[in-house]
């Protein structure tokens, strides 16, 4: 068997897989003596990305690797192929998911404290079943409540490469700055950005 053009193999693999493929996974398609350099692989991927600019598909990078997907501009037509509508998620579920995404690792109790209402078991169950969220440990307090974090599947589903790609959280304004506005406008804004940075998700995904 003569080795076909590298780009053709990579393209076919990405289009057949559906799910994202990492560079490592792509390398396993070749026997040792056929195996390309990572640089060549990356070059082929980048060429494909350019090739697709006029096509109905696009190549994107998400947390789980590289993925070929239907170009967003034609997606509404392609969606008509399928009968079912995409599931809609309640505000309660999305708020819970956001809290887990931005504040992970977080317990159910902590989510309830911020939302001011109980989090239903079925929400946690849906999030876990979809593999968007999983238990990463337990907080060492009485009851040892489970700590939840988001998964790579979550990032892939929402087309994100990492938690850093999440839309930024709105800044918290210091309530005192209304009273002492003239005094501390400068410092207050400095504090705000500071606080914002602290809220950034801090878990690294591989």
């Amino acid at each position: 068997m003569t080795l076909p053009v590298l780009k053709q193999i990579i393209e076919a693999a990405l289009i057949a897989a559906g799910d994202p493929l990492t560079l490592e996974r792509l390398l396993t398609l070749f026997t040792e003596d056929e195996r390309p350099e990572r640089a060549d692989l990356l070059a082929a991927i980048s060429e494909l990305e350019t090739d697709y600019q006029t096509r109905g598909i696009e190549l994107v990078e998400v947390a789980g690797g590289f993925r070929v997907q239907v170009r967003t501009s034609v997606a509404p037509w392609v969606a008509r192929l399928w009968d079912e509508r995409a599931p809609r998620y309640s505000r309660a579920l999305l708020e819970t998911l956001s809290l887990i995404a931005y504040r992970q690792p977080i317990t159910r109790g902590e989510i309830e404290e911020i939302r001011g209402v109980a989090v239903s078991t079925s929400i946690i169950k849906t999030l876990t079943e979809r593999e968007w969220v999983r238990v990463v440990g337990h907080r060492d307090v009485p009851g040892r409540p489970a700590l939840y974090a988001t998964t790579r599947t979550f990032l892939d589903y929402f087309g994100l490469r990492s938690l850093n790609d999440l839309p930024p959280l709105a800044a918290i304004r210091d309530p005192n700055h209304v009273l002492e506005e003239s005094l501390v406008r400068q410092t207050a804004s400095a504090m705000m950005t500071n606080q914002e940075n602290n809220d950034e998700p801090r878990i690294k995904h591989h």
């Binding site: 076919a12 997907q69 239907v70 708020e95 911020i114 001011g116 839309p167 918290i172």
Partner: protein, 301 residues
């Protein structure tokens, strides 16, 4: 904050929020309620009876007391940092009282918030002789504001997350097949026992909620329902009697008949008879458009 307008819109468009305006003030914003003898009806009669289930819809429109408070604040175009606790407390209590009056069960969270608001308000009314008391009042207010702000940013984050393009809804993965003759993906094996254990699990859970009880029905009936639907897939009519096969005997006919009744009851099938004693036809129920065609076809007949 960029999100404020959208959140306001969100609250305004929800049925519950509109209803709140109506119940608290008796007036609905701009949109006429209805046209009565050519005149737009803008005011709701104050003694209008509000069915309790409408208020339940209203309750469902909010994700808890913080969400409701944010709505009340935004409705007055106030900044969270500028809110008057007295004002907000009064409005919140109006709402809670209304629910209590209608004997609707209010979640504990709503009552807890009511108690907290009342606490802040009462401290404000006390003579401020002690500096400590003043601080406590300030602390409670600051704490409430902090919670409102914190909740608001995650409410916004949830909406931002929902706006991200996501799989199944906006983004679709691709699946080119492998030409025949090459090894294909091997799907996992499933044992019938695994399947039944899964069902046992889901039934045990469903039985915790009595209204989700799965009724007992014979499986041959269920199977026949699927078969009848498969026969009607083309979208055309089938003769009622054509669905019965002689060689199935009496028991087969009974199953088919029950399956037809069940399908008609569930709005899946319809029976058509153009005139008394004419042959009965069966078909899948279609969209209203198709029913119109049918009606036309019948009158032509």
């Amino acid at each position: 904050m960029p999100g404020q307008t959208t959140m306001l819109e969100h609250a305004e468009t929800s049925a519950g929020a509109m209803l709140l305006d109506a119940t608290l003030t008796g007036v609905l914003p701009q949109e006429p309620l209805a046209m009565v003898q050519g005149e737009p009806l803008l005011k709701l009669p104050l003694d209008l009876y509000i069915p309790p289930d409408a208020l339940e819809v209203f309750l469902d429109a909010f994700e808890g007391p913080l969400d409701l408070l944010l709505y009340l604040i935004r409705r007055q175009n106030l900044d969270i940092l500028d809110i008057s606790i007295a004002e907000i407390t009064t409005q919140y209590m109006d709402y809670v009282d209304l629910m209590t009056e209608l004997r609707l069960e209010l979640a504990a969270e709503y009552l807890l918030m009511a108690a907290m608001l009342a606490e802040i308000k009462s401290r404000m009314l006390l003579p401020r002789s002690h500096e400590t008391g003043e601080d406590e009042e300030g602390d409670l207010r600051a704490e409430l504001i902090r919670r409102l702000q914190d909740y608001e940013r995650f409410r916004q984050a949830a909406q931002d997350l929902d706006d991200l393009p996501r799989l199944e809804r906006d983004v679709f993965t691709v699946h080119a097949a492998i030409p025949p003759g090459h090894s294909q993906r091997i799907p996992p094996d499933v044992d019938l026992r695994e399947l039944l254990l899964a069902l046992q699990g889901v039934l045990a859970r469903a039985d915790l909620f009595t209204h989700h009880r799965v009724e007992r029905e014979s499986l041959s009936l269920r199977e026949r329902m699927s078969q009848v639907m498969a026969q009607l897939q083309g979208g055309g009519f089938l003769g009622f009697t054509d669905l019965f096969l002689l060689e199935e005997g009496r028991s087969g006919a009974v199953v088919t008949f029950l399956a037809l009744l069940e399908l008609i009851k569930s709005s899946i099938l319809e029976l058509v008879q153009t005139e008394p004693f004419a042959p009965i036809h069966v078909r899948l129920r279609e969209s209203p458009q198709a029913s119109d065609d049918l009606a036309r076809a019948e009158t032509d007949h």
